[in-house]
Symmetry: D3
Subunit: 162 residues, 6 copies
Amino acid sequence: MSDLTHFNDQGRARMVDVSDKDETVRTAVARSSILVNETIHRQISEGTNKKGDVFAVAQVAGIMAAKNTPQIIPMCHPLPLKGIDISFKWNVDEEAGHYEVLLEASVKTKGQTGVEMEALTAASAAALTIYDMCKAAGKEMIIGPTMLLEKTGGKSGDYKRD
Amino acid sequence: MSDLTHFNDQGRARMVDVSDKDETVRTAVARSSILVNETIHRQISEGTNKKGDVFAVAQVAGIMAAKNTPQIIPMCHPLPLKGIDISFKWNVDEEAGHYEVLLEASVKTKGQTGVEMEALTAASAAALTIYDMCKAAGKEMIIGPTMLLEKTGGKSGDYKRD
Amino acid sequence: MSDLTHFNDQGRARMVDVSDKDETVRTAVARSSILVNETIHRQISEGTNKKGDVFAVAQVAGIMAAKNTPQIIPMCHPLPLKGIDISFKWNVDEEAGHYEVLLEASVKTKGQTGVEMEALTAASAAALTIYDMCKAAGKEMIIGPTMLLEKTGGKSGDYKRD
Amino acid sequence: MSDLTHFNDQGRARMVDVSDKDETVRTAVARSSILVNETIHRQISEGTNKKGDVFAVAQVAGIMAAKNTPQIIPMCHPLPLKGIDISFKWNVDEEAGHYEVLLEASVKTKGQTGVEMEALTAASAAALTIYDMCKAAGKEMIIGPTMLLEKTGGKSGDYKRD
Amino acid sequence: MSDLTHFNDQGRARMVDVSDKDETVRTAVARSSILVNETIHRQISEGTNKKGDVFAVAQVAGIMAAKNTPQIIPMCHPLPLKGIDISFKWNVDEEAGHYEVLLEASVKTKGQTGVEMEALTAASAAALTIYDMCKAAGKEMIIGPTMLLEKTGGKSGDYKRD
Amino acid sequence: MSDLTHFNDQGRARMVDVSDKDETVRTAVARSSILVNETIHRQISEGTNKKGDVFAVAQVAGIMAAKNTPQIIPMCHPLPLKGIDISFKWNVDEEAGHYEVLLEASVKTKGQTGVEMEALTAASAAALTIYDMCKAAGKEMIIGPTMLLEKTGGKSGDYKRD
């Protein structure tokens, strides 16, 4: 059974030594979401159809957060990311009054550790940005669940959420 | 009905002018959570009882993220935060195999805008840090839902989630 | 005649003490520009009319750079900015083959120093971002001239470029 | 004709995937400039001859900005820069009352994308720093034009401004 | 006897709430030092007399580190610093082969917490920068002792090292 | 005799070109220390035995500072660090009233320059964090001496302090 490798002999956190790992192409895809009210749904949708694009700002926020992940997550290794993308999809059931944005963040690198944290951080930052830009119309929005959908590359093998 | 105030005449995002708002004490409390497996629950719990304290690292990550919120959330105003705290609580049902960490982040400032985003960002970063430190023992962890519990101060009045 | 106040007795740079200055509302507007070729003009324009909005990304870059100015400009005082906006305008003469984007960045604060540098930095970062996103279609783009258009507030009085 | 590769299928910005590109040595040289008045010219020149060296501060600002480019330019890839240098040259015509500082920033890396943006950002930050340190003696300074002088390395080949 | 106020009820670190403290002018002066060999002493001194000024770079590093202190020291409050200065003095005894740079960093703000950490961080960063720029000529340099010389302002009163 | 390689022909600082150096595994270990009073010694020790762990926060601060070294030390090359660890040891002589924390920071990378600065910066930031968290119980603490204990890898060979 695996132990918490992030701790040293003194029981305190360290950034694990990965210098022996292989440098391979690694990808990760994470999902988050944000549940909004009808007003916010209409505002974002209309904005997107015209020019005021909440998702465009969230996109930039997510991409920059992916690059800043080692500054946000203390034990996360710095990695020269090679590609980052984020997509948005509405999941709406008007009758049920359900208005939800699904976000997917994809990150790619060639390095000695995986990019799960970068994908998860990108998705979280994008969702938080949507919250920030829409909170004047309703503070009850709910972010998440946020989770890893899949990863490839590295010794621990590929992962795909069922 | 309120519009999306974060957009200018050209339909592009701006950081809203708050220079006319009152400078008052403002607080916000946000919650996030992370669902883990039994192994991770045991590792964190044992570590906490000894010295290897996952939550101690998550605490620092959340506090630093609160201070960095204006760099993470593009349209968020910079604020000289006056106090930040984060607490952790286990919500466990062993029979149901349910192991969940509840996180609450409290932020306080005296300024012209609220600190909802700082509290939400702190809670998210703390949860992401737990994910990072435990992912070797299970990548299926689920972060969130993440939400605002309450806020005080400012013209829009207090908010308390039902 | 004024001396270079940014130097101490040893002739080395310091961040000037402004603690005796009045805390007043201060604004600044700066302009930059970027000269592009016909292809880039068409790509940006079409993107803007559809959804791929180069200016939306440049907008976010400029706003975040304004907030980061004290980290970019060494002797610049940190200030809690209250409002930031950026606008874009095409200056096109098709016959002359002249395609130019004019950018204006407006920044507002209430503090003890002015926000000229924040406005100039925002305009510069927004122009650099346009360069970055369009450089695959022509590296000969020219940024600037970049200049202060006006400022208000503070002891040195208002300034307006002729 | 090349398209705007910085956009995904949803028409929103992404950080382009470069993981298939070759890792080669890449260099870029960018130029900026700043037009100052006679007083500022004398202050900088005398400072340089003695000890208060405006250019020394601008140099540090430019080098640090080059390293921070992926935080300033949203879609720019992070790269482990290998060398950065900046040089300054006066272009003065006393009779015409023309006092101009020319700045050249050179950046080198070994990586999968070019360093044009790092060179342009370094030159811009250095020029902005000169503005900041001299603005007490005249806010009418003009920064730029800022442009790429040359680049080498990478699939798109070398570039040299005529 | 004072307790460790930086811990919450769960025994984990928090950023202490200072919103009830008075906003007053606060200053702090910290000292560090770096012991170098004869070669480095000569190189720095000659450089300073000509143009290559190690201390000029260390000066900028210290000033920027003072502004970044809340990002470097996790529980440190963000403060809008009003003035920062650093000075350098040689303490040399050629017969004893003793070559030491003394650094003093002064920081001033108007706020609800003191600036001891900003002064100590500035002095440390400046000393580290000297190490970095001279390490090719001798890695045995010794930094420190680093200490607070004095502080003024705030409820806990003034402090002056004997 | 080696010159100051950090200066260009104009006598101003540059980030030295290292693109011709070999990419090898490199390690560095640095030491710092902090001298505290009896009260602080007791507070930290009791906290460590329970849950309020000053060293846990200092550990995170040191690890994040190692990753931020190129933003703190102006001429320092950015490097993708592979492992970082910090350990703490009490050096106590109760009769002499001597209470000192010894800190050791170890950093590892695979790259074209060494990691001495990262190790020294990590040790310094960890010591500064201890100062910050304990300063309410005594501002007379002394940080350092801070020094390099050893390094391996790179053309200049290994170094070990006597």
